[in-house]
């Protein structure tokens, strides 16, 4: 599977994303600088990694979501190809309008880094097909602004459509309805605060994130 990892100034999980993708797919993803206006020919999977693009200044993900590469990502998503945003990548995808809602400052006001218990709410997506529905995972989180917000109507709608993919077992940040990860209506753009790329290896963070990348491989 041909993949691309988008690199913004301030991205800091780009190498981790690269290594996780390479480990699972056996192919090195292209590292795409934010000032490019096109994705490499033949790109299937796009990952928008975590970090602090533009220092998290103005709003997390706001400036990255207006960078040169974004129209290409939006167009790529419109073809139904898989796009995954993790942590800052999730913030960028909501800011760009590819995903509903917004991510606000954690309710506790502090940065929180811990291994978060998650439940797989929807195992019927191209990102989660290798998980059992209801599976309990332990995946690292590390963020200051992961408090998912959407109006009640939007929340009801995404719940109803099965767009809530991961839910926290113990809410770390005040997220509405314990939401940790969501997918778009078409089922090809997913955003999540927990870091699956930090959980693909026994020597670091466990292996509960492996199946996510393996699911993608199966669907490609």
């Amino acid at each position: 599977m041909k993949s691309a990892v988008i690199v913004f100034p301030g991205s800091n999980c780009d190498r981790d994303a690269h290594d996780a993708i390479e480990k699972v797919t056996g192919q090195k993803p292209a590292m795409v600088w934010h000032q490019e206006s096109e994705l490499p020919e033949g790109t299937q999977f796009v990952m928008v990694p975590g970090g602090f693009s533009y220092g998290d200044y103005l709003r997390c993900g706001a400036m990255a979501s207006r960078s040169a590469i974004m129209p290409a990502i939006v167009a790529h998503a419109a073809t139904g190809a898989p796009v995954l945003g993790v942590c800052n990548g999730f913030q960028i995808l909501t800011e760009s309008g590819l995903l509903p809602g917004a991510l606000m400052r954690n309710a506790g006001l502090k940065f929180v880094c811990e291994k978060a218990p998650l439940t797989v709410e929807n195992a019927n997506t191209q990102f989660t097909s290798r998980y059992e529905a209801g599976a309990q995972l332990l995946v690292p989180i590390a963020h200051h602004d992961g408090n998912y917000f959407a109006d009640t109507e939007t929340l009801d709608r995404i719940e109803g459509e099965g767009q809530v993919v991961f839910r926290y077992g113990r809410n770390p940040n005040g997220s509405a309805r314990d939401i940790a990860g969501i997918i778009n209506e078409q089922g090809n753009v997913m955003g999540m605060m927990p870091h699956p790329e930090r959980a693909v290896d026994d020597g670091h963070g466990g292996t509960d994130g492996l199946a996510l990348f393996e699911s993608l491989l199966g669907s490609a």
């Binding site: 800091n12 999980c13 533009y54 998290d56 940065f111 880094c113 930090r198 290896d201 670091h204």
Partner: protein, 746 residues
């Protein structure tokens, strides 16, 4: 010769921290009186912070050489050999610890944040990608009115910076003591990795090379920060607030990537970060080490504010700036890379063969001084000192025996220095870069960070027991080094080298200087015996307020290597039925112990003595047992002695421990004594037998002390402390302390 240049007075010279004798040297070297710019430059170069004038005479006693040492003290950071990397190329580990004490007390968030930024620059300046951050923090008494706000600000600052630049903060230590009420300690350590044949030094520049400025623009930040770090506090210090710099971790992150990209091009002759005294120290350093001169055109310095003077530009401590001397004709390479990363870049001058530092501003020469005296003639003082009285040892038999050891253990484990620090480390990204095998959250005596793409890992620890250093500077200095060595050993690592951050009071007081000398002498002996040289470090003096000094705190940052990730240990793997063994002898050393402070409210008694031969023998034995795969858990014994190590192991393994006490040592001394050179091991019965046999053959004292099982820690079947209760108290102390802050705010 006129004594003072126009506009300069004796008062101005004094304000620059230059005494009469020092001023006479300047007059002699220049052959005339210095102007304000020149005075400012001498002032920062000869400050305690840059010149080590009070400490240099003693630092030379520390062993700095070793088989694995590539670069010892004198450069931005120390460099050690860690063998082959993923591509078969020789790898080096580059590390240093540095203080940011005064700025953090005045503005905790920015002080701590810029401390992290500064130490990261020291490491990537040398060509290393930073892979881990550690921090050793000392705060005042928990109940002191400023403590909570300082803890909260410092922790947020460390996290705010480290999290954003994407370097994991993997460990450290936090102590609370009234001795730090007026002077907290924020010591940050950075560790990086580089290919051993691609390391960058301050030396290496030649005449005729362009000097390139990169990074953030220069503003009026922190003018005279370097001299502030060398002056005692008084009640007016809070007025000094505007001198504290503001950090921008986003720029730092871009600077790391841009510098590493530039370093891969072979276009650099020499490179320095602009730390304390920014443009002055970085340019003087490279000129001095290269034996050359420099000419700078101040109009070309990127400026954030209008109307800046040369004095302000040369002394500014604006953060996230680097000075690079390029090979001639290669400036374009730097321009291209730094423009890509949206960073300021400008050629601001060139190197010369004059040996002088010549600064031009608005067409006029505003400074023209020889470089050599700035570095070579820096004052060096043999400060008078007397050795502080060494406190007498305390016999455990003379300390009242408590009736219920479980209750005592509960109280100690939930005391400020022993309680869980999860409140702190949850605010640090410990996992970014995906190589953290063990961090603060894990049951490990040292943080473990893999060497990316290999089966090896670095083990990293910070250690110091200030209450021992206060009781007996020599033994305390020894102990700090020995404990770092022990913590690395307990993970299965080969300890390699240390960095140090020596925090003391006013060296002009003989008693304080005596503490400093005693600690250095003790450290030197331990480094030599344990083959654990010092490769980098930092001295922070004048940590006192209104004549009250901090406890002597020589913080040690130790680095070791785990050659094979499959052969390592932690203290969370104890299984039911495991035999518990203690390596080393227990005599019940309660002097200056946690027990004495928490239970008796006393801080007297002598520090435990460190037998370095035994330390080495016991450590080598334990490492051998780890590599033989015999241990299910291993933990060093330190604060709180056997009982607290057992409690840690029980909590981490979620398994009770039945301790047995026999012999002549009183039970409280046996359980809580802090005798040195000891480890607690857990092993299955057959392994325990083999360990005891090996111990006999190697003549290492190993004793059976208990058995794993149940849901409580017990002693001789009595004194039970249920793990659930222990865990709640251990985890609960710090949130309870900090929630008071929230209450105060709400």
């Amino acid at each position: 010769m006129t004594q003072y240049a126009e506009g300069i007075t004796a008062e101005i010279v004094k304000e620059h921290g230059i005494n009469d004798a020092e001023y006479a040297v300047i007059l002699d070297r220049l052959g005339r009186a210095p102007n304000l710019v020149e005075l400012g430059i001498f002032s920062v170069m000869w400050s305690e912070h840059c010149s080590y004038k009070s400490s240099r005479a003693h630092l030379g006693k520390l062993p700095t050489k070793g088989e694995k040492v590539i670069q010892g003290p004198g450069e931005n950071a120390g460099v050690i050999d860690i063998g082959d990397g993923p591509n078969g190329k020789k790898m080096a580990c580059i590390f240093k610890m540095e203080s940011h004490n005064h700025p953090s007390f005045i503005e905790p968030y920015q002080g701590a944040a810029t401390g992290v930024g500064g130490i990261l620059r020291d490491v990537f300046t040398m060509g290393a990608r930073p892979v881990a951050l550690m921090n050793a923090l000392r705060f005042g008494a928990p109940e002191h009115k400023k403590t909570r706000q300082l803890v909260s600000g410092v922790v947020a600052g460390i996290g705010g910076y480290g999290n954003c630049v994407g370097v994991p903060t993997v460990g450290g230590e936090t102590n609370f003591h009234a001795g730090y009420n007026g002077n907290i300690l924020v010591n940050a350590m950075a560790v990086g990795l580089a290919e051993a044949d691609n390391i960058f030094y301050a030396r290496g520049a030649e005449p005729g090379q362009p000097i390139v400025y990169v990074g953030s623009k220069t503003g009026r930040d922190g003018i005279h920060g370097a001299t502030m770090a060398s002056a005692e506090f008084d009640d007016q210090s809070e007025e000094k607030r505007p001198t504290v710099q503001v950090g921008d971790p986003f720029v730092e992150k871009k600077l790391i990537e841009a510098c590493l990209e530039l370093m891969a091009t072979d276009a650099i002759a020499a490179i320095q970060d602009m730390g304390a005294a920014g443009l002055t120290s970085s340019s003087v350093e490279m000129a001095d080490k290269g034996g050359i001169g420099i000419a700078l055109d101040m109009d070309k310095v990127p400026q954030r504010e209008t109307g800046m003077t040369t004095y302000e530009m040369m002394l500014s401590e604006s953060q996230e700036r680097m000075l690079v001397i390029m090979k001639p004709g290669r400036e374009d390479v730097a321009y291209e890379i730094f423009k890509k990363w949206e960073l300021d870049v400008a050629v601001i001058g060139e190197t010369t063969d004059t040996g002088r530092m010549v600064l031009t501003h608005k067409g006029e020469v505003v400074c023209d001084i020889p470089v050599a005296p700035l570095a070579d003639d820096a004052p060096k003082y043999e400060r008078p000192y007397f050795a502080p009285e060494v406190r007498a040892q305390l016999n455990a038999k003379d300390v009242a025996q408590p009736s219920h050891m479980g209750e005592v253990l509960l109280k100690i484990m939930s005391s400020p220095d022993m309680a869980s620090k999860a409140w702190i480390w949850k605010q640090y990204d410990r996992h970014v870069m995906a190589d953290t095998t063990a961090s603060s959250e894990d049951p490990s005596d040292a943080a473990i960070v893999r060497v990316h793409g290999t089966n090896k890992a670095l083990a990293i620890t910070t250690d110091c027991t200030p209450r021992y250093c206060f009781a007996n500077p020599f033994e305390g200095g020894k102990q700090a080094v020995a404990e770092a060595w022990r913590n690395l050993t307990a993970t299965g690592a080969d300890p390699i080298a240390i960095t140090d951050c020596l925090n003391f009071g006013n060296p002009e007081r003989e008693e304080i200087m005596g503490q400093f000398v005693g600690c250095i002498d003790g450290m030197a002996e331990a480094c030599a015996k344990l083959d654990f040289p010092v490769v980098s470090g930092n001295v922070s003096l004048y940590n006192e307020t209104n004549g009250v000094a901090i406890p002597p705190t020589p913080a040690i940052g130790g680095v070791g290597l785990i050659p094979d990730m499959a052969k390592r240990a932690h203290f969370g793997g104890m299984r039911e039925g495991d035999i518990l063994l203690v390596v080393g002898e227990t005599e019940g050393a309660l002097g200056a112990s946690v027990y004495l402070k928490v239970i008796e409210g006393r801080e007297d008694g002598g520090a435990p003595l460190v037998d370095l031969d035994a330390e080495k023998a016991h450590g080598d034995f334990v490492r051998g047992q780890i590599r033989a795969g015999r241990l299910s858990a291993c933990h060093d014994l330190s604060d709180g002695g056997l009982a607290c190590a057992a409690a840690d192991m029980a909590l981490a393994s979620d398994m009770g421990i039945k301790l047995a006490h026999e012999g002549n040592v009183p039970m409280h001394g046996y359980l809580f004594g802090e005798d040195q050179g000891r480890y607690l091991l857990a092993a299955a019965k057959e392994d325990a037998i083999a360990i005891l046999q090996d111990a006999k053959a190697d003549d290492v004292p190993v004793h059976v002390v208990g058995l794993a099982g149940g849901t409580a820690v017990t002693v001789n079947g009595a004194h039970p402390l249920e793990l659930d209760r222990l865990r709640a108290a251990w985890e609960g102390w710090m949130p309870a302390l900090m929630d008071q802050l929230v209450e105060a705010a709400e």
